[in-house]
């Protein structure tokens, strides 16, 4: 089985889907001729034709609106928003149109659009190449939201997203595109040799709505998605505490059963995300966990998140949750 990084596995997913389904088309800024600024669509135009993989104007609103129209007219567009930070000119089309058309039309029309977008920090991207705006989409009924973390789940989840008949926002942790990120910015790794980088070239899918148990333990449940999955892995090792590490993979609908069963077992819970704390998806999960696990909880649920500030440039390692903060939170759950 070939070793792939996330860029390659996403490319392979798109290639498989372009091959299998004539209705799949792929477009966005720099996506066609150049193959994407992160190289995710490299070679796809040459292989599948400029009518199927093509460049768009610099117009997130126009990309989203035309994808809506194509979806209504029987296509299955997969569009790229170059950075999640730039998705907002298309927000009205996503929130008021894509997310609502099936419901508002009484089920007569729907638009199976996949919006791929690199998200998250760790690349010295400052305010506007670093944000992780998933909760601005999880709060919109009608949308599904996925967040991959490894080469294997990136491909399997993207294929499920494209095959899904609901609109979906698909976040890709750009810091992990070419290697896992364990929280040390100076340790730049590749996916070479990583078990999650063994990716079949053929089509496979990972069901939306199912979490992945990335580590198994008994004393605490740690939940994360995107790049934070790997940072949590490091933090768990550093803490010396035996933890379940749950990689959520899909945020809407999220795998509450897996989370609740784990917390019922461990009695402790730490939720980690890069996005700001207030109204972050961790708040939703914490509320649900206390509803379901109140009598199992031995300690307060901990949240380790980005701060409620704009994402910084030179101080990004003090903004993003790192192994030390997460390990400290895990330790707090063990007190008393």
């Amino acid at each position: 089985m070939p070793n792939m990084n996330i860029i390659q596995s996403l490319n392979s997913a798109l290639d498989n889907m372009l091959e299998r389904d004539e209705d799949v088309i792929v477009y966005g800024q720099d996506v066609g001729y150049f193959g994407g600024v992160f190289r995710t669509t490299d070679g796809l135009q040459e292989k599948h034709g400029a009518h199927r993989v093509f460049d768009s104007p610099l117009s997130e609103g126009g990309i989203m609106a035309t994808a809506f129209g194509m979806g209504i007219n029987g296509l299955r567009p997969v569009v790229e928003i170059q950075f999640a930070d730039y998705i907002f000119p298309g927000y009205d089309q996503i929130v008021n149109e894509l997310a609502k058309v099936r419901h508002r039309s009484g089920g007569q029309y729907w638009a199976p659009v996949t919006v791929r977008t690199p998200a998250g920090g760790g690349i010295r991207g400052g305010h506007h190449h670093s944000q992780s705006p998933e909760s601005q989409f999880t709060h919109t009924p009608g949308l599904k939201v996925a967040y991959c973390s490894t080469p294997f789940n990136a491909k399997g989840l993207l294929i499920s997203a494209i095959e899904c008949n609901d609109p979906i926002i698909f976040f890709e942790p750009k810091r992990c595109y070419r290697g896992p990120f364990y929280g040390d910015p100076h340790n730049v790794l590749t996916w070479e040799g990583h078990p999650e980088a063994e990716v079949p070239e053929s089509h496979y899918s990972i069901p939306l709505g199912e979490a992945r148990l990335a580590m198994e333990g008994g004393a605490c449940t740690v939940i994360a998605w995107g790049a934070m999955v790997h940072v949590c892995e490091q933090a768990i090792r550093d803490s010396g505490v035996s933890c379940d590490l749950i990689d959520l993979q899909t945020l809407v609908p999220w795998d509450r059963d897996t989370v609740v069963n784990s917390v019922a077992k461990t009695g402790r819970c730490v939720i980690v995300h890069e996005a700001p704390k207030t109204s972050g998806f961790g708040a939703e999960m914490a509320a649900s966990v206390q509803e379901r696990c109140f009598y199992h909880l031995e300690n307060p649920i901990q949240r380790v998140t980005g701060w409620d500030t704009p994402f910084p440039h030179s101080t990004e390692w003090d903004y993003m949750p790192g192994p030390a903060r997460i390990a400290a939170a895990i330790q707090r759950t063990q007190e008393g």
């Binding site: 117009s59 194509m70 209504i72 009484g106």
Partner: protein, 412 residues
């Protein structure tokens, strides 16, 4: 640093030509039928339409006769069909507005004064063409054969509403007629329509998409996205700006500087035409031209449909607060129904008596449809849709969290 003042002037804010209490006095139009030639839609360039963008395509003259290169030469049956659809829409609107006032509908919007827009333009299309309307083009559904009872059931939000009571009245969906779901956020349909057209083009289908946007909503980004994408991908789409001059109380002077909408298509490289929107024949002809152009692969057309919103924006609006009550009567464009009626009379194909008969017949038709529709309930008295419909069709399959919330809502 102290800032130096250069004058006593301040921010320049436009106004409407006339406000409530003013006397509305319009100059008569300089444009006449026959002013403008009809270029070859398959071959002409955007620049060949410069005069059409700055002028006004008319076919019906002040003498009620049809003339000029743009005369679509429709036969009398077709003209009478157009007249009937327009009369039907006006009487339907009046009945619905009355029912809104009694609380049977939550809200209503008439097409009063601009009935011609959707009707002439949809009649000029093929049945496989896609319709991306605003809330002011419900008339397209009459052309596409939608059952009036079904339309009223939607407006009453009753048990037979085909969008299940989820949308306000007038937010129709009619898939059989390729009429997309009307959306309240103004302008979003305009850029979506380009995507529909791109998909038709991708599949090599003989389909054109038509869409409309109001003068006010041209100030939204979606308008510009649409023109740009249509131009870049040469999409088979017809982009109409319905300049009815008023966006609630906001005059078109706030939507654009200068005095024109049509010519804004030219720098995008789009054929651009301004047309008399209350002239059934001119509007039909221009739309047919744009369809022919789109279907031939020559690209999109940007059309300014010049009309006047004779009624209130909606049942919640009172235009006497912001414009003269008789402005509609003073406006030089006249009334689209009167003009087509008078043309048919002028060519000996219609009479005042027949008009009265038609109105009586349609009035009865609308009343009968209303009585039939209200059997399925109305907003004030129910029955409404089942509570479960809040949760269905949010996704293709209901996820667990919606199932739990549904069970809570229905009390299980």
């Amino acid at each position: 640093m102290a800032r130096k003042k250069k004058s006593d002037k301040t921010l320049n804010v436009p106004t409407a030509p006339f406000r409530a209490g003013d006397e509305a006095t319009f100059e008569s139009w300089p444009w006449k039928p026959g002013d403008l030639g009809r270029p070859d839609p398959k071959k002409c360039s955007a620049d060949d339409t410069i005069k059409h963008a700055h002028g006004l395509v008319r076919v019906l003259g002040d003498d009620n006769k049809a003339s000029g290169d743009w005369n679509p030469e429709l036969n009398a049956d077709e003209l009478r069909q157009g007249l009937e659809h327009m009369v039907r829409l006006r009487i339907f609107d009046d009945r619905m507005m009355k029912m809104q006032r009694t609380g049977k509908l939550s809200f209503y919007m008439r097409s009063f004064g601009e009935e011609c827009v959707a009707i002439a333009q949809t009649m000029a299309l093929e049945t496989q063409d896609w319709i991306f309307p605003t809330y002011r083009q419900p008339g397209a559904q009459f052309v596409r054969g939608r059952d009036m009872v079904s339309m009223i059931c939607h407006c009453l939000s009753n048990a037979e509403d085909n969008v299940k009571g989820r949308q306000m009245p007038v937010h129709y969906t009619y898939k059989e007629g390729r009429f997309i779901s009307v959306s309240s956020p103004v302008g979003t349909q305009f850029s979506q329509a380009v995507g529909v057209a791109m998909a038709s083009q991708y599949k090599g289908l003989d389909e054109v998409t038509i869409t409309w946007i109001g003068d006010g909503a041209t100030a939204e980004g979606d308008y510009h996205y649409a023109l740009n994408f249509a131009s870049v991908y040469n999409a088979p789409v017809i982009l109409n700006v319905v300049n009815n001059q008023w966006a609630i109380s906001t005059h078109a002077n706030f939507a654009r500087g200068g005095n024109e909408f049509a010519s804004r298509g030219l720098p995008y490289g789009l054929a651009s035409i301004r047309v008399d929107g209350n002239d059934f024949l001119a509007l039909y002809a221009v739309t047919q031209w744009a369809r022919e152009r789109a279907a031939s692969g020559a690209g999109a057309t940007h059309i300014e449909v010049l009309t006047y919103r004779a009624g209130a924006h909606s049942s919640s609006d009172d235009p006497s607060r912001y414009r003269p009550g008789d402005e509609y009567a003073q406006w030089p464009g006249g009334d689209p129904i009167d003009r087509l009626r008078d043309h048919l009379i002028a060519i000996g194909e219609w009479s005042r008596g027949q008009q009265t008969e038609l109105e009586k017949r349609i009035d009865a038709e609308v009343m009968d449809a209303y009585k039939e529709a209200v059997k399925f309930g109305d907003l004030a008295n129910g029955p409404h849709q089942e509570v479960e419909t809040i949760f269905t069709e949010v996704y293709e399959e209901m996820p667990w969290h919606l199932k739990e919330q549904r069970d809570e809502a229905v009390g299980e």
